[in-house]
Amino acid sequence: MRHHKNVWMMLIVLSIVAILFYLFFWMLTTPYDLFPSDPERADRMLSAIKSILSRKSSQVMAMIISAILISSTSLIFQTLTNNRILTPSLIGFDAIFVLVQTVIVFFFTSSSIVYVNPYINFLVAATLMIVLSLLMYRLILRKNRNHIIFLLLVGMVLSTLSRSLATFLQTVMDPEEFQSLLIRTEVSIANMNTTIIWLSLPLMVLIVILIVKNFRSYDVMSLGESQAIGLGVDYAKKLNWGLIYIALAMSISTAMIGPISFLGLIAVNAAREILKTYKHFPLFIASSLIAIIFIVLGQGIIVETGYLTTVTVLISMIGGAYMIYLVLKENKT
């Protein structure tokens, strides 16, 4: 227990350090005098600092929201699939997101309210994505619940399909419309869409509450399907709802920071390795903290070092190597 206390302390301190680093480190390296004696310049400097800080804090906020969503949904996805290596990002929500945005521009034009207003746009896109994923779930999970792994394969094929369809629509689209489409589809961690954080924050809180409320059932479900049913868990219902949370969470994080495929894998597995527990609640907290550390600290370092690469690439490299390690280790035990 004592050992765990240290771990928690370390994780919390590290995530705070990461956030502070992201917010304030630039002040130490900037060549400008941040607190000039001239009152007029001091005023201007102050407002500049304020605007930088507000931009950076909304970016941090977007990253934290996404980190929590990604790690919590990866955690329950691993429980539902009964597999430690799969993450919901394999379903390919990013391709579906791009297709949805393309369809919106194609049929409503880029000057319509559905596209211009970020909130309405997000709501429409998220609704469409959830409807699409529900259709997919219905189609595949209707007959046999064990087919969740088929879901991944179908998702992967659907993402190729939607990528092809989106590219086709984009080729026949008006060039100016295409230009304005890029604003929404070229979302990545280096180019975050922070306009919707005030919408996604309450949604995230809602999803997290719903997921946390179900943690007891998920604890039982991680024993396996027949055991869970034997112990009185309505497995099919929990599975369906879990998949709905996943679709919602993935739409939010994809709309804000774009796809980050291996983050969930790293965070959840690292949490499992550190805590050596199967209980969902501590795993959830630890994996969220690890995801925050990874993404905020990583992005902070990359911003400060002049964008040598991107966090997504770094996380994919580390995550891929970690995955191979996990695959090989699973074999030994």
Partner: protein
């Protein structure tokens, strides 16, 4: 006595009918293939009619030889070799969902072309292909070794791991490209298609012919190797050698076609699956059908992408992405039904 005789003769008849059916099926394929080849030769922006050709119009024959024939030949070579590579990969890994695109081979070819560019600058397509080949071979080998170590060999789990492995290789390529300012070059790798294939720009594709011949020669041995190492050894097949030959064929085909025409989604995946559904898993018997079927499928897609926005054309990878995805989904659903029932 007469009863027994009756049964045997009816069996003989049914066997004969089966043989006939087999021939019929192949003949259908051949007819479709020839028909599509003709259409592919005749479709295009420049007017080219059979009558002109028969009259011996020099301009018409020029169009045919300089642009139409190279394109059609390129399609046939690419499609048949990719389908065969997919077949080999699926039979030696005993998994119907594996192909060069779901095992990191294509991603490794991209990495290879990038490294080649960084070391030697702009190079000929031959050198590009050699780099792509070396990386594709090593990466496929690593994936196969990894596959051997995986305990939980679920049919779908394995290609998912393959795709994550491919994503990791891609991220390494992106990382290197970021460091050496080659992102722009990286984005141009693998953009191809058949639209620019004319005399002088497709001949390298002939290099896949030896690989295809080798594949046909080794066909039976691939089926045996697919039954497992011990089984293959019992039958006197040198397992490691056969797997090695298979990997080399896969790497040659996927690197050359990738460098020359870019990615063609789903060919290596769905063509062997569809053919094995109708013709069974016997590699030696199906390999020709797979080549024919794969070529017809890609020819059809190429014709569609040439006429859908005529006189322009859309990239074949989009057409293939759509038609291939739909067919692949049907395959998956059918498999799911089998699994449930």
């Amino acid at each position: 006595m007469s009863n027994v005789k009756l049964i045997t003769s009816s069996q003989a008849i049914s066997m004969f009918q089966n043989k006939l059916k087999w021939f019929n099926r192949r003949w259908y394929l051949i007819i479709v293939f020839v028909l599509l080849t003709f259409i592919s030769l005749l479709v295009g922006v420049l007017d080219l009619t059979l009558i002109d050709l028969l009259k011996g119009d020099a301009a018409a024959w020029n169009v045919l030889w300089i642009s139409r024939v190279p394109r059609t030949v390129a399609i046939i070579l690419t499609a048949s070799s990719l389908s065969i590579a997919g077949l080999i990969m699926q039979s030696i890994s005993r998994n119907k969902f594996i192909s060069p695109s779901t095992a990191g081979t294509t991603n490794a070819a991209i990495l290879g072309v990038l490294i080649g560019y960084l070391i030697m600058g702009n190079q000929t397509t031959l050198i590009r292909s050699i780099f792509a080949f070396a990386f594709a071979l090593v990466s496929t080998l690593i994936f196969m070794l990894m596959l051997k170590k995986i305990k939980f060999k679920n049919v779908i789990y394995v290609p998912l791991i393959g795709m994550m492995y491919g994503a990791m290789i891609s991220s390494i390529a992106t990382f290197i490209a970021h460091r050496y300012n080659a992102i722009q070059f990286l984005n141009t790798i693998g953009i191809g298609g058949f639209s620019n294939k004319a005399i002088g720009s497709y001949e390298l594709l002939y290099l896949v012919i030896p690989a295809v011949i080798l594949a046909i020669v080794y066909a039976t041995r691939f089926s045996i190797a697919g039954m497992g190492e011990d089984f293959a050894k019992n039958l006197g097949v040198s397992y490691g050698f056969v797997i090695g030959v298979g990997l080399i064929i896969i790497a040659v085909v996927s690197s050359i076609t990738f460098v020359m025409v870019g990615t063609l989604p789903f060919v290596g995946l769905i063509v062997p699956n569809l053919v094995s559904y109708y013709y069974g898993d016997h590699v030696k018997k199906t390999i020709v059908d797979i080549a024919l079927f794969g070529s017809s499928f890609v020819l059809l897609n190429d014709i569609i992408s040439r006429i859908i926005v005529f006189p322009y054309e859309i990239s074949i990878s989009f057409t293939m992405g759509v038609t291939g995805a739909i067919i692949f989904l049907l395959i998956i659903f059918r498999r799911m039904k089998h699994a449930t029932s």
